[in-house]
Symmetry: C4
Subunit: 275 residues, 4 copies
């Protein structure tokens, strides 16, 4: 019994190193295989909706789907088995995604009805987030996330401001519509304003009277210029994070007198070479 | 008489704390209730314009509108009663918005005629600005406003430059139009140029001759590149405000010798630990 | 004769102060009148192209045009008379614009033919640039111009890169077109690529085959991301100019020991208060 | 034999100076001639696809094409002959472009079939990259390239994030489509999402149901705001590179005491004038 437990512990340890670690050759190989399965698995779900494709390769797609699902199920089981706190993993962001990635196929036994299945199948795209766990990207994506989280408050205010502006400009357009085509209700007018403010400009709804075109012009110039605001917020945050990192890297105490905090200095004020 | 006055003063004081303050539990509750009324009140006005909706729920909407209007009227009265300088509040930005938010319903008794009422009803959307008074957003929105106000001058110059460019490119397009469709007058051509320069691109008017497409290409590349200007202005302002705040936070005088202004220094030049 | 010369000199001097200066009340008044003439003069030219407008107000417009032209002619004459180096002014940027602003009306005597006249009339829009000479805007517009001139080199490289990309992507689209509609020649394909890369997106030409949509997607994501490049260039320049100004404002020598260049310091290292 | 070798060596050396160097008058002339040939050569390939043009000038175009090809062939031969390590040049980026620029015409003898030839002909556009070798642009384009390479990692993460978002939003749109027109398959929905997220907005596919327009609005606001991310990354990089250059330029050691790293200081702490 003890031997089995000891063997299982050894197996758990090694599996942990392969699945979660990235320093060993087998760990890197595992990450590569995972990548090599996620990408085609997403492509299959996408291609299933292309007309003529599913009729032609129906059988092959089902088989492929099951191979992928079993692979992810095994990966999921190994992850849960080899980690110290399985529950913490299961309810983590990536734990939930891992579960979502395999659930749809098993649910397809119970549930029937095409539209429900399509919705569930689309959840599998969340697998793509797993790639961001890859060591090559994780450090960069963490820094991106940091900068975005710090500037979240200001960006939310800005989005709220955009929503108010869209509602006000949209209802103004609805009020002055008279001869305009397409501005049938305030929600539609708000939709048009968002299309205009964000400079998307589909063009299926667009003003045709001089007054409507004048209001649209103001909305466009406004939308064109206020893009500076989210950009300014995020950039200031990036520049600052960048700077902070650069500065903190440089604040090495002088080995001679312990003085710290020189700005790019190469010599301590007492003459000792700093770097 | 004195007791009444004293009681009224006490009531005024407590109302003031609830309505304007955010440190007490009742103050926060009041802010929450306000939010919970503003958002649905705006939704109602929006939905009233959707065909089929007003016919179905006409009676319910009228009742809801009146409940909301009475709630805002009460809020408005309490705000005026509980503040020290009522006139200053009434003529402030939010005071005017508060009045505008309740006026339309009372005006609907006097004025008749659908189009006038629609215009007035749309004013109620200004209520949404009241949410920005919420303590959670106010500090962030003040900083955003500061940065925008500081860079206002440069942005106005830039918008003016865009307007000149639109007029010139627009009239050039009108002059070379010949076989083009849609460029019927200079105002329309200017409208098209704004649509193009701001990268909105509706597509209902677009050049079809080689010369027209060439001029349009120049306008597009210009519009694509000059977006850098407002962004650069606002970003420089944000970065600077950010930096100023960071620096001023750090300029603590050395407790030993009073020297100030060390850049990220941890030690005074005389060896005293700064932080 | 001497008296006349002396009187003329005095007149010249006073005119110079009024026209070029902005410190006197009459100087400011002159700038205001100029503004008040430029804006309507441009509006007239624009409105002349609106159908039904010129038929209705033909006579009034001609009279107004002549009043404006005579006003500008007088202004131009006074500018030339009152300046020390008239030739330098005449061949300066604003000198040429001033001439262009009055020439079209006088040329209309000699030249006949509607299309030629329309072209010449559009030149009058250049008058709008005169507003930028207004003291309120000049300092801001100079700083904008400075930042743009400094980053001109990099932006030109970037535009050139965009043109190459447009040519290459455009010709790729032409090559793979087969079933696509609208990609009839490489110039048209290049035009479409510019429309796509600059995120304008008119939509009158757009790919319909999977391969075309795939190439278009790459062009769009590329266009969406590379906008960062001109923005980054101009922003870095703005931030730098901003910083330089801020720093140079602060580098005041210590009045006691002459030491300079403290970064935001309030005290000289020898204890003297710096500001 | 020796004389010939010596003469050839001298010829090689002089050719090298003319072709690769830019300090001599003939070197600058060579660069200018090259420019003067590349630009028209590209125009010819573009114009060949315009209907009616090739029928009219067929003979002239063929002759011109051959003149240009022979010129580039000669240039290529001289480059290979005059360089010390010919193989290193041939397999370099510009070496391959140089070969690609001449190959199509020679291949046209062997290969027949219009579509194959068009593809090959388009490769000639790569010649335009040769202009970036011009000394006037090289320093600027190197700095641009540096900043882009440094921020490559973060931008790739961002593009990947955009692709995931497009797939998820696209499949959500496909799932809710019901009454929508154009969202026939997930690939098409993803294409629409990319068109929307990048604010291009062609408008040939666009949502018409309230739910579809709501999802589209979220995608648009998201796309409008997240443009801040690539811009922020590149700008932070530019600002930093700019700053680094500025700082490193200023870190001149004090000629008196050897102290370095003063931030914009004009005087050494010991009183010596720094610049």
């Amino acid at each position: 019994m003890k031997i089995i437990k000891s063997k299982f512990d050894s197996f758990r340890h090694q599996t942990n190193i392969i699945i979660y670690g990235t320093n060993t050759a087998s760990g890197r190989l595992f990450d590569l295989i995972l990548l090599g399965v996620i990408v085609p698995s997403v492509f299959i779900v996408i291609l299933e909706t292309v007309k003529g494709f599913i009729e032609k390769y129906h059988h092959e797609l089902i088989v492929l789907e099951w191979i992928i699902t079993i692979f992810f199920t095994l990966e999921n089981l190994l992850r849960i088995l080899s980690i110290n706190k399985p529950l913490k993993y299961i309810f983590s962001f990536y734990g939930i995604i891992d579960l979502m990635a395999i659930l749809p196929m098993y649910l397809s036994f119970i549930l029937t009805g095409a539209s429900v299945l399509t919705i569930i199948r689309a959840i599998k795209f969340l697998r793509l987030f797993k790639i961001l766990k890859h060591p090559k990207f994780s450090s960069q994506s963490i820094r991106l996330k940091e900068a975005l989280i710090t500037s979240k408050g200001k960006i939310l205010i800005f989005i709220y401001f955009m929503v108010i502006s869209s509602i006000i400009i949209g209802s103004v357009m609805y009020v002055v519509k008279e001869e305009e085509i397409g501005f049938t209700s305030i929600p539609t007018s708000i939709y048009w304003t968002i299309v205009t403010l964000t400079t998307v400009g589909y063009g299926n709804i667009s003003p045709i009277t001089p007054l409507g075109q004048f209001i649209a012009s103001i909305a466009m110039i406004m939308g064109y210029n206020v893009i500076a605001v989210p950009t300014g917020i995020v950039t200031a945050q990036f520049t600052n994070n960048f700077h902070r990192k650069t500065v903190s890297d440089r604040i090495n105490p002088c080995p001679n007198c312990g003085t710290e905090g020189y700005n790019n200095a190469k010599y301590c004020y007492h003459g000792t070479v700093l770097k």
